[in-house]
């Protein structure tokens, strides 16, 4: 090296030497926020009621006019493709509100038709779907069972009657005697010729006989040839006759069966007609039913034997009658009720399918194992939610729907085709090879309402070309409503409805006020109220529990506070752990003193539903370089893109503010100390800038402060999220070490409106033991953090001497000059071979 390196790196200096040369800020120049700005409380007296029992419960939507209008529109639109997607955060009461609205509307609508599946007697693999007027399907099914029941009694008795038996015997006798007579005649003829007809193991044979015994072959062979030939000729002739008689037997048997079948049909026709007439009379206005009954009647007559045979299940000793609807012999005549409307509740159905699997939506064809094989029939067709909601509304959670294999595609297919077609997805993929059905599709007329988060809606809209065509109505639920007297009262009525629904004790005004304050906290905005009704409902019920534990008749503020506190305690194990490691100096956080290039940043950790703030040490080191700020987090791939963006913005700020006319010959490193996970977000960018400015100016930063806020290239401090948790996180660390009064947090001014701090933090501020500062610009923050004036450029374009900015600028100029000197052309000495500048 041919130049002496200047002692620039004093990033960890702790002396006040530099400060003593600085221009201090005036006392009270940067006053902390007033107590009133830290939390917006509700005065119970302003609510205008004593307890929620004075209020009329509210069950509909509050502050969701836009979503409500969308739902009204979607429900009124008759087109099949104007289905709804209700967007909003989970547990916001969307589905309850939508269901309540649709139920009211559906009650006024006419009940849709009933549907049944019946056997297709011509093609059993394609069961028929029959439509019936609302409320009549169940009666139809019962009447069919009754008709078959009746036939089970009447048909056997008809077939056991003397008339039938006599006619049957006459037919059988006619055929039997014909055969027997022919056979006996042949026997007689054979005997007359001394020929015997004998049974062999497999048939008949003939042989000459003498005195009733077959002639021995040797005796026969001793006979004259003429006689032998004569016998042989006789036997051959008789054999031909025997063959003719025996051949006639199957034909005759066939004729006999045919005659018996005609007789059976003749006998059965009357009984069947009579049994089905009752059903016919009840459904004479439904032509499809009459057609079915005609087909069933013909089939009943054709299969009358089913009523005469015993079931295989019957015990030989004790014959027990099997229920007709369960008797496998009569399944073909039963009715499979798919949809029976207008029975339990009037109007159109409003159905919520909480498990929208393919089968639960579209329906399924079940199978039963029979002799090792899977078989099915039309009675094993099970309806899905689409069947049950037909003619009404179907509510489905979009995420669950998308997570169920084949369900989403099947739903879209059904809406497009406007018919419910039950198909087995695995069968169509060839994964199951068994007997199955192809039931007739049922026309589909359902308004489908999907519920989901916004991200899901936008994703579907972006990636599924069918989605926008089929779900044309979006009902967007707000997460929050404006905080006003009117909405406070609405909130109170919501609490009243929750207490009524869950049969809880009423809340007094102070309890309601505390819930409203918590609603603002949940909204992360003191000007808003969260309408995540699931959370509010949980809080109200937990508060009621603590009220009961305390033996109170009315739930008050202390019960709500206890519920909140207990809820946090149940979930804050990790927060305690984080606080503990800081308290034991495992994670190094200073809360007193001052250091150059070191500052406390704040981050928020979310664990399940609980989030908490935690301070992190951020350090910066600077040296002469080629104008690069090294974000160590990014270099090791622990920094997210937003964090990197924030760091790059710092660079823009430094260059624009301090190096307008000189190169920025700076090399700086920034790091979140003891951070082993990822870092993202730009909420620490102002903090990193403060650390960098401290390092450049060599002015130490007060360690009793923590900072949050993002920054832009102009040095303006911008709003961040989780401001309350961050302040409380640092407060907890300071409190554990002892509050000194010199500790506090710097937040962006634009975040003041979001402040809904814990009551103990507010109390500490009230007592002057802690402070919250709102800053709009980096200069303000630097002054608070260092107690040194930041300084503005004067007319001479110079920052005042002794100001932070002047020190920074001077340092940067120094770097630039040195870099310039360092960068002069190098000449190689021919004599020494050394390089000089």
């Amino acid at each position: 090296m041919f130049f002496k390196r200047a002692p620039l790196d004093k990033s960890v200096a702790t002396t006040n030497d530099t400060v003593q040369q600085m221009t201090p800020t005036a006392a009270g120049e940067h006053a902390p926020l007033a107590v009133a700005e830290l939390r917006r409380c509700v005065d119970p007296a302003t609510l205008g009621f004593q307890s929620t029992s004075d209020l009329e419960p509210i069950t509909g939507l509050i502050g969701q006019d836009r979503a409500l209008r969308a739902i009204q529109f979607g429900a009124d639109m008759k087109s099949h493709d104007f289905n709804m997607f209700v967007l909003g955060p989970p547990a916001s009461g969307k589905s309850t509100a939508v269901r309540t609205y649709l139920t009211k509307k559906a009650v006024e609508a006419p009940a849709p038709a009933d549907w049944v599946y019946v056997n297709n007697f011509e093609n059993q693999n394609r069961p028929r779907a029959l439509k019936l007027p609302a409320g009549r399907a169940r009666r139809f099914a019962a009447q069919m069972v009754a008709a078959i029941d009746e036939l089970r009694t009447t048909l056997p008795s008809v077939f056991e009657s003397e008339e039938y038996q006599a006619r049957r015997r006459a037919i059988e006798e006619e055929f039997r005697s014909g055969q027997e007579e022919a056979f006996e005649a042949l026997n007689r003829k054979a005997q007359a010729q001394n020929i015997a007809v004998l049974r062999t193991p497999m048939g008949f044979a003939m042989a000459p006989v003498h005195e009733g015994k077959v002639v021995k072959p040797e005796v026969f062979n001793a006979l004259p040839e003429d006689m032998r030939k004569n016998v042989q000729t006789k036997i051959e002739a008789l054999q031909k006759e025997l063959e003719a008689i025996l051949e006639r037997v199957p034909k005759s048997d066939k004729q006999r069966r045919h005659r018996l079948s005609e007789l059976n049909e003749d006998i059965a026709e009357g009984a069947v007609g009579e049994a089905l007439d009752d059903v016919r009379a009840g459904f004479s206005d439904v032509p499809e039913i009459l057609q079915f009954l005609d087909a069933a009647g013909k089939d009943l007559i054709r299969h009358v034997g089913l009523f005469l045979a015993s079931t295989g299940d019957e015990s030989e000793i004790v014959k027990q009658s099997v229920d007709t609807s369960r008797d496998p012999r009569f399944r073909r005549f039963m009715v499979n009720l798919i949809v029976g409307n207008g029975e339990s509740s009037p109007g159109a159905p409003v159905l919520e399918e909480i498990n929208p699997t393919y089968g639960n939506l579209i329906g399924r064809i079940e199978h039963i194992a029979q002799m090792g094989a899977l078989v099915t029939d039309f009675l094993l067709i099970k309806p899905g939610a689409l069947h049950r909601a037909n003619g009404g509304y179907l509510l489905i959670d979009a995420r669950k729907l998308l997570l169920s294999p084949y369900a989403w595609e099947a739903l879209k297919r059904t809406i497009k085709a406007r018919e419910i077609r039950i198909e087995q997805p695995l069968e169509s993929m060839g994964m199951i090879s068994t007997q199955t059905l192809d039931p007739e599709p049922i026309p589909f007329d359902v308004k489908v309402v999907l519920f989901g988060e916004r991200e899901l809606y936008y994703m579907l809209a972006a990636y599924d070309p069918d989605f926008r065509g089929l779900f044309k109505v979006q009902a967007d639920f707000d997460d929050t409503i404006a905080r006003s007297e009117e909405n406070n009262l609405a909130y109170a009525r919501v609490i009243a409805s929750i207490t009524a629904e869950h049969k809880l004790k009423p809340f007094d005004a102070s309890g309601v006020a505390r819930v409203i304050e918590e609603g603002a906290r949940l909204a992360d905005d003191r000007e808003k109220l969260s309408i995540e009704l699931g959370h509010i409902s949980d809080l109200v019920r937990e508060a009621d529990y603590w009220s009961s534990q305390g033996g109170r008749e009315v739930t008050g503020r202390e019960d709500v506070a206890r519920a909140i506190e207990e809820g946090i305690q149940r979930a804050d194990r990790l927060r305690d752990r984080a606080q503990e490691v800081i308290g034991r100096d495992i994670v190094l956080i200073d809360t007193s003193g001052a250091k150059v290039g070191q500052i406390n940043g704040l981050s928020v950790l979310q664990v399940g539903t609980f989030s908490f703030g935690r301070p992190s040490r951020i350090t910066a080191r600077v040296r002469m370089g080629q104008g690069r700020v090294v974000d160590i987090e990014r270099e090791v791939k622990l920094g997210g893109p937003l964090h990197s963006k924030g760091v790059m913005i710092l660079w823009g700020y430094l260059a624009g503010r301090y190096a307008e006319d000189v190169p920025l010959a700076l090399a700086a490193t920034l790091v979140f100390e003891q951070s082993y996970g990822g870092v993202d977000g730009d909420s620490a960018s102002s903090t990193e800038l403060y650390a960098l400015l401290s390092a450049l100016s060599e002015v130490p930063v007060k360690q009793g402060h923590a900072v949050t806020g993002s920054v832009n290239q102009r040095g303006e401090v911008q709003a961040i999220g989780g401001v309350n948790e961050k302040i409380e996180g640092f407060y907890d660390v300071c409190k554990a070490r002892g509050l000194t009064g010199g500790q506090g947090v710097l937040i962006p001014k634009s975040n003041v409106q979001h402040l809904m701090l814990r009551e103990d933090v507010v109390e500490a501020v009230r007592e002057g033991r802690f402070a919250v500062h709102a800053v709009g610009h980096i200069d303000e923050g630097m002054e608070i953090l260092t107690g040194v004036k930041a300084g503005e450029r004067g007319e001479d374009r110079q920052f005042p001497a002794g100001s932070i900015n002047r020190l920074v600028e001077d340092k940067l100029r120094l770097f630039a000059e040195r870099a310039k000197a360092f960068g002069r052309p190098r000449i190689e000495s021919q004599e020494t071979g050394k390089i000089t500048s």
Binding site: P201, A205, V215, L246, E247, E316
Partner: protein, 287 residues
């Protein structure tokens, strides 16, 4: 009868089942097993290779016409012997399975002889108290043939037969009583059979005049006393004629009929056509 043997603990007789063809009546075989089961006896199957059939097959012109009449072929003695062998092998397995299921001991033998002679020999070897069961239905069998059989087979006390319409062995056991002296032994046999057929015991009184019938009914009721498990049936009109008796038996839908040989049910002279046309269950014929 076997029942008597069982009670007296004498040498036990058997049910001798005669088989002659490849297609015996299944109800006849089941009936034989049920009788053996009821009387806690065993079955002795006799596969008879009919000597006459074997003689017949020795003729050079011998032909066998199949049961359907559609096929006719020349046969030799060896063909017939093989047919017998195959038929009996198949039947042996079926009958063994049935007997095993009913827990009835079984012995099987093949005899080359005249069918009745084969029965007589087997019964003589099995002891004096046997029941003969014929596996072929008695469609065209005459009473004379039955008498001949009963005379020839001296060591059989009864005969189990089925008609061509036989289709069950479960249901009431009908004791067709024509002679009151036989009622106690028929009752004992009926009680035995009821234990395996699952139906009640029915006493059907048969006589050719009304006065006798009334007397028989009175005597039978006296004999039965307070028994509630036995029903007495007195036929109404047309009593006495073979057709009427057969029709009465059909209507009672019995699982077994117990009857005597040489009465109104099974006359000693004439044919059994009416009975064959009506009877849907086996008949246990006692001498």
């Amino acid at each position: 009868m076997i029942a008597h043997v069982a009670e007296a603990a004498e040498a036990r007789g058997r049910v001798v089942l005669q088989l002659r063809t490849a297609n015996p009546n299944p109800v006849a075989i089941e009936a034989a097993v049920r009788v053996a089961q009821a009387f806690q006896s065993g079955i002795e199957t006799v596969f008879v290779e009919d000597l006459q059939v074997l003689d017949l097959a020795s003729f050079p012109f011998a032909r066998e016409v199949s049961l359907t009449g559609r096929r006719s072929r020349a046969i030799s003695s060896s063909d017939i012997e093989q047919e017998f062998r195959l038929a009996f092998a198949s039947l042996r397995r079926r009958i063994e399975a049935l007997a095993r299921a009913a827990e009835v001991p079984i012995r099987q033998r093949i005899v080359r002889d005249d069918p009745i002679a084969a029965l007589a020999t087997t019964c003589a070897e099995c002891g004096p108290w046997n029941v003969v069961a014929l596996a072929e239905p008695f469609g065209t069998l005459s009473s004379e043939s039955l008498r001949h059989l009963l005379e020839a087979v001296a060591d059989a006390t009864g005969l189990v037969l089925v008609g061509p319409k036989a289709r069950r062995t479960s249901g009431p056991v009908i004791a067709a009583v024509e002679d009151l002296d036989r009622l106690p032994s028929m009752l004992r046999a009926g009680e035995r059979l009821v234990s395996v057929t699952g139906g009640p015991l029915v006493i059907l009184l048969i006589a050719d005049d009304e006065e006798r019938l009334h007397w028989m009914e009175g005597q039978a009721r006296l004999l039965l006393g307070e028994r509630t498990d036995t029903r007495i049936v007195v036929p109404g009109s047309a009593r006495g004629a073979a057709e009427a008796v057969a029709e009465t038996l059909r209507r009672l839908e019995g699982g077994f009929v117990i009857s005597q040989y040489g009465g109104l049910v099974v006359p000693a002279n004439g044919d059994l056509r009416a009975l064959a046309a009506a009877l849907e269950c086996p008949i246990f014929l006692v001498r």
